[in-house]
Symmetry: C2
Subunit: 279 residues, 2 copies
């Protein structure tokens, strides 16, 4: 039976590229066949998995230029029983896609806000007077620019190929080392691995309330590779902290740290331990 | 002479409401007259101030539902000599604006991504099959919905009034206690006040590298009201930390903590001390 994998569609998005990379990885290891299921939003991809309508979901977590993808963190906190099965790091390269005959004919550029932000410098230099219009996905941008020859889209070279659209410039991202990290999420038990992700809240307005949680890891020589705060959505100034550790939660030292951590937190959720695949 | 204040325009945005609240505040205290200057983006508002083309800028920092406004943090780090003069906390209330005769006639809703996110629940319940299209500002959404009577915008009641547009439902934000914090930024020396904001980076891949910086404040009983990480934009896994303290940088205890902090950081920038005005 094929394994269903949810992702932010339609085909041609960077999430699809990540999902395909994971499918290839699975095929090499287990020979498992997969079927990709596009969703209209990242939240919908995770919901689909939580409801059991797809076995796995591949969602972006963080870009090296634009930072966290908030909806992924917020959804993971809100939904139950989701565990991270794997992390994927993918280089992201953007192309300017347009049916215009030259750059000077373009007055509007469509793309996902993250992609627009990642090409900001190039746009200011090469298309200084064009209007930038955000879209829900890079693929939607390609579809919209096909309706008007004086507009362009920022999307992957693969999207251009899929929709038979011409590439006017590539790559146009401001930094060549542009990378995005994705998580493969499912309801299966945590597979274990080199990294562990979790989130927690601490009592409000206590000086140093965040120091003790971080010390539990520092005292044991466990490196925290990332900390991100998100609002609890109750009141301004109340946060959830999302943390990535370079440690396996099955390791006794990490288990001990997590048990101690729990005593300092108000609420806590462990999203599991997993390994990272770099493409 | 009038004092020029930059904000994310056009008129009708929540940034304009915040700028007007600050103008009112200034008038009461100093009698100073102000002129409001709309900019097309938040980054442009801050750049205008850094270049000396406007005396002050009013920019959103954080919403109680959607979290940090990344572009504000990133711009403040990149631009030189900007100091926070004041913080404003404003309740944010969203209206559904449309020329449609009823909800059932609406197939598309335009708004700024933050506003769409803040009304997510209401939209799923009341307009489940409508398409959500992001715009650069809530005001731009009102302008776009005026072109097609089967579409709607999410914006403030003030925007509806300014553009003579009908309100179909109000308020529609999922939580009534929806607030946004704004910063008033200028090149004037820091005025001092109850809160201090700063940002720093720490050496990469050192276990506990963030613990020491946080301890400098905890050891002195200084409460940290917020911590936010942003990518350095160099490589995945390298961060800047933005911190708000409940302390005045002119206070000897805080000065001592900041001096110690500097020894643990790679780079550090203090955005000044300021007081908070709640509306």
């Amino acid at each position: 039976m094929s394994l269903s994998i949810a992702y932010l569609g339609p085909p041609g998005t960077n999430s699809e590229t990540a999902a395909m990379a994971y499918v290839e990885h699975l095929k090499q290891i287990t020979g498992q066949e997969c079927i990709l299921c596009p969703d209209p939003t990242i939240a919908a991809s995770l919901q689909t998995v939580a409801l059991g309508e797809a076995m796995l979901g591949v969602v972006p977590v963080e870009n090296s230029l634009e930072g966290s993808v908030s909806v992924t963190l917020d959804s993971l906190w809100q939904l139950d029983d989701l565990q991270i099965q794997k992390a994927l790091v993918l280089p992201i390269s953007h192309a300017l896609i347009s049916w215009a005959s030259s750059l000077s004919a373009i007055h509007t550029v469509y793309s996902h806000p993250q992609a627009l932000a990642q090409c900001q410098g190039w746009l200011e230099k090469s298309l200084p007077s064009s209007q930038l219009i955000p879209t829900n996905s890079t693929t939607e941008a390609v579809m919209r620019c096909s309706e008007d020859y004086e507009t362009a889209a920022i999307a992957s070279a693969r999207a251009a190929e899929l929709y038979l659209a011409p590439i006017l410039a590539h790559p146009i991202n401001d930094r060549p080392e542009n990378c995005t990290r994705f998580w493969v999420v499912g309801k299966q038990p945590s597979p274990g691995g080199s990294h562990t992700s979790l989130a927690f809240s601490v009592p409000a307005n206590v000086p140093g309330a965040l120091v003790k949680p971080l010390q539990t890891f520092a005292n044991r020589g466990i490196n925290m590779s990332r900390i991100e705060s998100r609002p609890t959505k109750r009141s301004l100034g109340e946060y959830l902290f999302f943390i990535d550790l370079e440690a396996d939660a099955r390791d006794p030292r990490t288990r001990e740290a997590l048990a101690e951590l729990e005593t300092y937190t108000k609420t806590m959720k462990i999203f599991g331990s997993y390994s990272i695949v770099c493409n």
